[in-house]
Symmetry: C2
Subunit: 623 residues, 2 copies
């Protein structure tokens, strides 16, 4: 350790070298010490709370912003927001990262629904036998191979990849019986000696904002041989797409950096999956990528900047193919990486995958699909017509802006119920450990149960005439205690505040506004909706009754609700084993109508009504 | 300099570090000290003569092979063949490279004939104006561009290069009026802001075994903006294609090495030409490559090994396109490198270019085309039918195997004439300096004039009853003195020996056999041949009368002879400015018939007759 640099000790973790002028979050990220952060240091999520145990004098003074996020008790204990605390002195600083600020393995949804499709991958293998070159038959190798493929397989007007061209002569001289790998009946990607038709593999990846899920697929059987998931390593530069875009905009190098992080992680996944399934990465001939538009663009090295700026236009919507080697993905030298199509800036291939997984594009029934997330996508329609919109629901359902909010990690309360008579609470914790906070599904439960127990009114305010020790009115921010300090892992009461309720009102209002707008656009009444599909990691865990209680969606009978999980992975897999799925995805992209919510005529009126629990006009079209 | 390594001093050049066990030619090549060598150290050309001035004891003993190539006088002077002399001791060695063994700038043919063609390059520029993205018109950038190109240019179903895709958003945000570069009406290679239609460039390269010729072309006007040539740097690994193939076969790394040499030289040429013409390499959107099949394969990184082994089959015959970046050529990131089609292992794109330049594929007249070189290609036919064959004429016409033979460099005698009465000789030297040796054209002249002066007989032997001081009979290898030692730069008589005559008999017999075989195959009599095209660097300088005198080709009136120079460069240029030329080249490749000479039924009979001067049967079909 450099003697001249100040020493920072992260208690229970390790000592690191401090860099003067940098904030504590930055220093921790550089040292791969993970502190929770959703807003990437923009001071808006207040998740990066740390306790300074020693060395206050070496740090920048407390800011007003921190004073609004931290209460008196916390300030006395030495709490700071890591992203607002700069190292300014040369002395020793000791920092404790409390349990609620530690980033832990998240509850991740890898499986997803299976999209039904016939096995018909875009890459295929054919075994052919060539007549040996002789002085009497001196056709060039490539012309000879073309003749034989035309004769024995029936494909013509083929092209050959550069890599295959340079290897062709050597492979043929080892064996005149070869297996050719042909993509889209058009390009000979590779030539393998002998008959290797049984071994043909693909890799599908769902590039989520928060996590990556990878699948090694057998393209001969359509089966998933192995799957894995890991956090999206870009998360250290911001928890949501907006902060990734902002980071990419800040400096030209940042796009490369974000791209490299996710490509490196892809290669790690490939190494792991290939090891497990005993597949040589060179036997992987196609990579299929699904994600939201920003993740898609960054994955393919395309600047997402203009997705983040009005009028929020992506570079490309249609499905794209790029040689995997251009991206640095370590599979066969000439394999392609295919990116599923995007509909708009905030409606990406993940939504196309949702539609494919739900099947609404092929159904007569009118269906509503909601993929709930920081950015929520809504699709309404059937096989005749599809309408999509997107709505920035904000990070609250991932735990952001919520006092004890956290991601769906071990230690998060995932479900809450309140007895309307006693006002007592029950809850369930992920991993069955002592709770550290509450995650999205429990947050929705809490608001629903506070409303059903008559603890809060239609406009979200706590009622005044309540008498329960669960209600704390010590500050103007009234709180309901979900878990007492002795039950918790953080030695403090885990509460849900009046401000938290308002945050969720905004989230659900944003979603409800989108739902209402697409229904209004199509002149649809809730009773016309025959199916409601809830998608996305959050959509899988949320209690649909709680969501309906707070008015996140209109009054649709619960038996019409279907969960399709995280469809992006299923979409990537399906597009790998079926060309038809790619064509369908393209068709969906071309035909779907996109409604821009921010310029929708009745936007403000609907939004205002939607902030009420469950909605201002309980009756009447279109709610 | 490493003290433990032996020191070699190349007199007048520099001292270098010696490596024990290596031969002097190898050491010199590694140090970029150029010693003439045609056979690449196989001990067959005897061109790498050096004089050891000091340190004989540190070198391997004189070999029998050297004793056959070097005469008594030379051995006394300390002559050795550098490729057969190994460094074995630790002491100092001083080496002198005599004038005749120094590689000097060669006489090079850059211009070539112009192939007539309409201006219609495969890459074109279009200027389009896009409606700006707004909240009302949120088409993605690529979809928007496609719509506009369809509307304003009429092209549809376009694809976009990966590089252009990653830059698209940025370019459009700088200007919604852009110039798109489109290849083959299909792929958007690049997008430039504003109207840049006036600047569209291409690079054509003729990859000769001995030299490279590069041309910077203006694709808007079809004009050559600048041209340059340089020796093919691969020549240090062998002067002819056979030795390049042999070198590539020896070790896997060698193909890469040969490829890198020629690509590096390409980039040097590009730098020079772009500097001269004030063109940014990124404005070059297509590279066109012509050469013989071996040069073509090495240029594109394809192993030429199997061209060198029976049945002499190349990897690919049809025209190929490979992204220039795959080859490391520094032009626009997404430009393609196009290789003109090859007909067979030893009939390459250079021959296709010869045909295009001569126009015989479009003529009613029956024509004969001979591209004379170490490997000589012969084409006979007209627009109805074309027959090609190739014949390994050997290196003698490039100066190999000829006692004072040398390449057509400064100091080479290029023309010789002999007075049939006095037997006195006259000559002309390239660069008008004192001669160091004689090059191909003069070698043919010498044999023709020795024959016409009745100094040699039909079977090539010197007549016995001659009385002239020009005839030296000191050894059994009778010599004719072309230049006396006092006239020469090497202080020795420059002579032409009986053995030299025999070498040329073999060369011309090889060529004449090919010519006779294709004529026999088509049942053609010399009088039917309306045009004789002589092609290639050698074909341009040779005196057609001398060539006819020795019987290199049948008795065709001299007024029917046409010179088309080195057509490969012209072919590369034409294919750059015209798509039509590429289609024609492909048509030629598909339709031409190839006659394999070595398996031709009458081969030995014809060859035997062809060794006579001018031919055994002076009358009668088919000569």
């Amino acid at each position: 350790m450099n003697n001249s640099a100040p020493v920072l000790e992260f208690e229970e973790i390790r000592k690191v070298k401090g860099i003067k002028g940098k904030d504590l979050l930055d220093i921790a990220i550089n040292e791969k010490i993970y502190i929770s952060s959703i807003c990437a240091g923009r001071g808006s999520c207040a998740k990066c709370r740390v306790i300074i145990k020693e060395g206050h004098e070496n740090l920048s003074p407390l800011t007003n912003l921190e004073k609004t996020y931290l209460n008196k008790e916390e300030l006395e204990q030495g709490y700071r927001l890591a992203c607002y605390t700069k190292l300014i002195g040369d002395g020793y600083v000791r920092i404790y990262i409390p349990a609620e600020s530690r980033a832990e393995p998240q509850k991740m949804l890898v499986s997803g629904i299976q999209v039904k499709t016939a096995l018909n991958p875009i890459v295929k293998k054919y075994f052919v036998k060539l007549p040996k070159a002789t002085l009497e038959d001196r056709r060039q190798d490539w012309e000879r191979l073309c003749d034989v493929i035309k004769e024995q397989v029936g494909l013509k007007e083929l092209i050959i990849s550069y890599g295959a061209l340079t290897e062709l002569a050597n492979v043929l001289r080892e064996s005149w019986a070869v297996t050719v790998v042909i993509r889209d009946d058009k390009e000979v990607l590779w030539i393998e000696k002998g008959d290797t038709r049984e071994r043909l593999f693909g890799f599908a990846i769902d590039v989520g904002t928060t996590k990556l899920a990878g699948y090694l697929m057998d393209l001969k059987s359509g089966e998933t041989l192995a799957s894995t998931s890991s956090p999206n390593p870009q998360a250290i530069y911001g928890g949501d797409v907006a902060s990734r875009v902002a980071f990419a905009m800040k400096d030209k190098k940042n796009l490369k950096l974000l791209n490299k992080l996710v490509i490196d992680e892809t290669n790690e996944m490939l190494k792991k999956l290939c090891g497990e399934a005993q597949v040589n990465p060179e036997e992987i001939y196609e990579v299929s990528v699904a994600g939201n538009t920003v993740m898609h663009h960054i994955y393919f090295g395309i600047n997402p900047k203009y997705i983040g700026l009005s009028p929020y236009v992506p570079t490309v919507g249609e499905g794209i193919k790029v040689k995997a080697k251009e991206l640095g993905i370590k599979v066969n030298l000439e394999a392609y990486s295919y990116g599923l199509p995007n509909i708009a800036g905030f409606v990406g291939a993940d939504t196309v995958a949702d539609i494919l997984a739900s099947g609404i594009h092929e159904s007569d029934e009118l269906s509503l699909l909601i993929d709930i997330g920081t950015n929520t996508e809504i699709v309404l329609g059937n096989k005749h017509r599809l309408i999509a919109c997107s709505t920035p629901a904000g990070p609250a359902i991932e735990g952001g802006h919520i006092k004890y909010g956290m991601r769906a990690e071990v230690g998060a309360i995932e479900h809450v119920w309140i007895d309307p008579d006693t006002y007592e609470a029950g809850y369930k914790v992920i991993g069955d450990v002592k709770p550290r906070g509450i995650c999205g599904s429990a947050i929705i439960d809490t608001v629903a149960h506070l409303y059903k127990a008559n603890l809060i009114s239609e406009n979200g305010t706590f009622k005044q005439d309540l008498n329960s020790k669960r209600i704390k009115r010590e500050t103007e921010n009234t709180e309901y205690v979900i878990a007492w300090s002795y039950e918790s892992a953080i030695n403090r009461d885990i509460t849900f505040t009046a401000k938290d309720v308002r945050e969720i009102q905004l989230v659900k209002a944003a979603i409800r506004t989108g739902v209402t707008a697409v229904m209004d656009y199509m002149h649809i009444h809730p009773k016309d909706i025959k199916k409601l599909y809830l998608a996305g990691g959050f959509g899988t865990y949320v209690d649909p009754q709680s969501a309906r209680t707070i008015g996140m969606y209109p009054d649709i009978p619960l038996e019409r609700v279907r969960f399709i999980g995280n469809a992006a992975g299923a979409g990537a897999k399906a597009s790998l084993i079926s060309k038809g799925i790619r064509e369908k995805a393209e068709e969906i992209r071309r035909n779907i109508e996109y409604v821009e919510l921010s310029t929708y005529p009745k936007f403000l009126e609907i939004f205002m009504k939607a902030t009420y629990i469950p909605f201002k006009d309980k009756l009447g079209f279109p709610v």
